[in-house]
Symmetry: C2
Subunit: 366 residues, 2 copies
DNA sequence: AACTATTGATAAATCGATTTTTCAGTGCTG
DNA sequence: CAGCACTGAAAAATCGATTTATCAATAGTT
């Protein structure tokens, strides 16, 4: 069993001693520098093998003055979107020989700033920041003030200091508008978090402009709460209590979709008979529930790929003005979207659930 | 704007120069060592302030030979369970002045081993490992072979080399059994992933033993697939196609619950009229869908807290035999569980959805 | 007054690597 | 054979901190 094996790990000097060469030579062998006598190289390899030597990447980075570490700062880890984002970023970093160190800001700008400082302390080579607010929040300021290399993603549109990559919210929302208006909806409630500045504004305006272009008489109600989800829930509840009866709800973010669904439950409304629902952000469960929930799928993999691509270009010294990329989304129209119900629903409904047994999803090609 | 500020960050020597003292003195001041003349301390503080000096934690750790880094290895980041786990671990590590570096093994033991080696290269102070398989997989072996300090969580029961912390699967499953048998179910399908060794076995046996104790004539069918989810889906589909008609399904893990739901959809079966469903692992959406889905809630926060507690004890040198903790789960009986339907359902059903508008959840106190 | 303790600070060693400089030996040329 | 370029390896400097050893100046003791 435990062979009393609290081995202090061998350093490059231990290897050098065993091989009867200098540490510098070991380093060269490890890096494949050709100016080493084959015989010595062989002895180094043997010593490495025997001792089980592996270089300490942090000690190595210390000397190089460029750490092979990429920092990622995300609002949370709990959602599929950010979870999947971390997975992608991790893979892309490792592909280039870097290690990803991810941290969650917990939707707090203070914590975001604190993490950024820590990333700077760690001298990370670059940072992928999904800001709590938007590109004009404290995060970007800090990164700029400290001369850090970074890319901003997700809740951003474009920035004068950093490259940005995000979903094409504007087009996606426009497509949602075409879908809802096309099906006859003329009174839509849009819910979202105002805190998430520019991004939410894009989603909202993309929807509003296209909807109004298709029918100027459309009525669009908007409920935006500043920071937290619970006030939003309260506002929505209040809105419905006042007797407002939109025929569809468009949620600008995932939690909003959940809140909307739970408020529908409270009132016994069913989708799409009593009200239609479509939300930004897809999730696995949305394709297996009754009804399946229509959603805008953000291209997580592409956002991650583009962000890392830009980031490493900057790390490698590329200059030039910041770029702003928008990646195309996909709207999955599922069962939660239908035509408006005939009369003003009262809170009852028919009791009928849709009993479709069609395949999985219905990709929507505009 | 950008004040050409590619500041090379000041080192402790820069501070020393500015303050007119030695680097050693600066280090002492930064650590609050009292044997420093107040006047000198003052000058150091001023220099630190002026230069914006912050110590490089990695350089500092290099000398101390104990890095203030905790590694976390999880099968994936995409689920609420592991996402939430990372968030908790992150907070608990930082509370003690450590940084959490999380990595995902992507349900692959090869990758798990690779990450462990990297963690070892990094000389992390300790590792929280949620193994892909169970405590007897390659991960534990590697940790032991390399004399690493670590704790195993989630898919484990107990180990002879490492402390373990996990949900009390046995009790939770027993409670599910009491609930289902109590409601009259006598034919239950249990689905899970066999790969996840000991843990799944505990969940399965906890269920089976209690169910059979309550009624020896109960019929329990089990579908366990080795590695991937898709073969499981195929097996379930095949099972139902053969005409098997259990009155309830108990899924031993989250994806199984999703697969079950989607297979119900395919056949047009509704919960709980046509079939009941309860799964291990809760998720936010389960309380807002129609029907709401019954689930075993794992105490993520407690598992994380206990794991970190044990880990830091070991890091601080505590010896003694490994401990094995089981944290109590909570069963949330929601609408997806009901009494068995009267006759053998055919694939039709009544078309009626439950229209409950009761509060949120129904915590179940055994 | 001579010697020892004490205090506060600096110089130097260290952590584990990389990189630059120096150096010894070899081969070639004139 | 002296002089020079070249090769391969060792020695030393470096990264940014901490820690140990050393030292100077002051205070205290007899």
């Amino acid at each position: 069993m435990s062979s009393g094996a609290v081995h202090k790990r061998p350093s490059i000097h231990d290897v050098a001693n065993h091989a009867g060469v200098s540490a510098a030579t070991v380093s060269k062998v490890m890096h494949g520098v050709p100016t080493v006598k084959p015989e010595n190289a062989q002895r180094v390899f043997e010593a490495v093998e025997r001792l089980g030597y592996r270089a300490d990447p942090l000690a190595s980075d210390l000397r190089r003055a460029k750490r092979r570490i990429i920092g990622a700062i995300l609002p949370e880890f709990e959602s599929e979107f950010f979870g999947s984002m971390v997975t992608h970023l991790e893979r892309l970093a490792e592909l280039r020989g870097y290690t990803l160190v991810a941290a969650s800001s917990g939707e707090s700008e203070e914590r975001e700033a604190e993490i950024l400082r820590r990333m700077q302390d760690w001298r990370v080579a670059g940072v992928v920041l999904a800001p709590v607010r938007d590109e004009h929040g404290r995060g970007g300021e800090l990164m700029q003030a400290h001369g850090m290399t970074g890319v901003m993603i997700d809740r951003v549109l474009s920035d004068k200091s950093f490259d940005t990559v995000s979903a094409d919210s504007l087009s996606a929302s426009a497509e949602v508008a075409r879908e809802l208006i096309g099906r006859g909806h003329r009174h839509v409630l849009v819910v979202g978090l105002g805190e998430q500045g520019a991004c939410v504004r894009a989603r909202l305006e993309g929807f509003r402009k296209t909807a109004e272009a298709l029918d100027p008489k459309v009525r669009i109600d908007v409920i935006l709460c500043e920071s937290d989800v619970e006030p939003l829930r309260a506002s929505i509840r209040d809105y419905f209590s006042r007797g407002e009866r939109p025929t569809a709800v468009f949620s600008l973010f995932l939690k909003g979709t959940l809140v909307a669904l739970s408020e529908f439950r409270r009132r016994g409304w069913h989708c799409p008979d009593d009200i239609s629902l479509v939300g930004f952000d897809d999730a696995e469960w949305m394709s297996v529930t009754w009804p399946t929930i229509a959603a805008v799928v953000q291209p997580v993999g592409q956002i991650a790929a583009q962000a890392m691509d830009m980031l490493f270009r900057r790390i490698d010294g590329e200059t030039g003005p910041p770029t702003a990329r928008l990646e195309r989304c996909q709207l999955l129209v599922r069962e939660s979207v239908g035509a408006p119900s005939s009369g003003p629903h009262s809170g009852g409904g028919t009791g009928q659930c849709p009993r479709l047994s069609e395949p999985e999803m219905t990709p929507h090609s505009a």
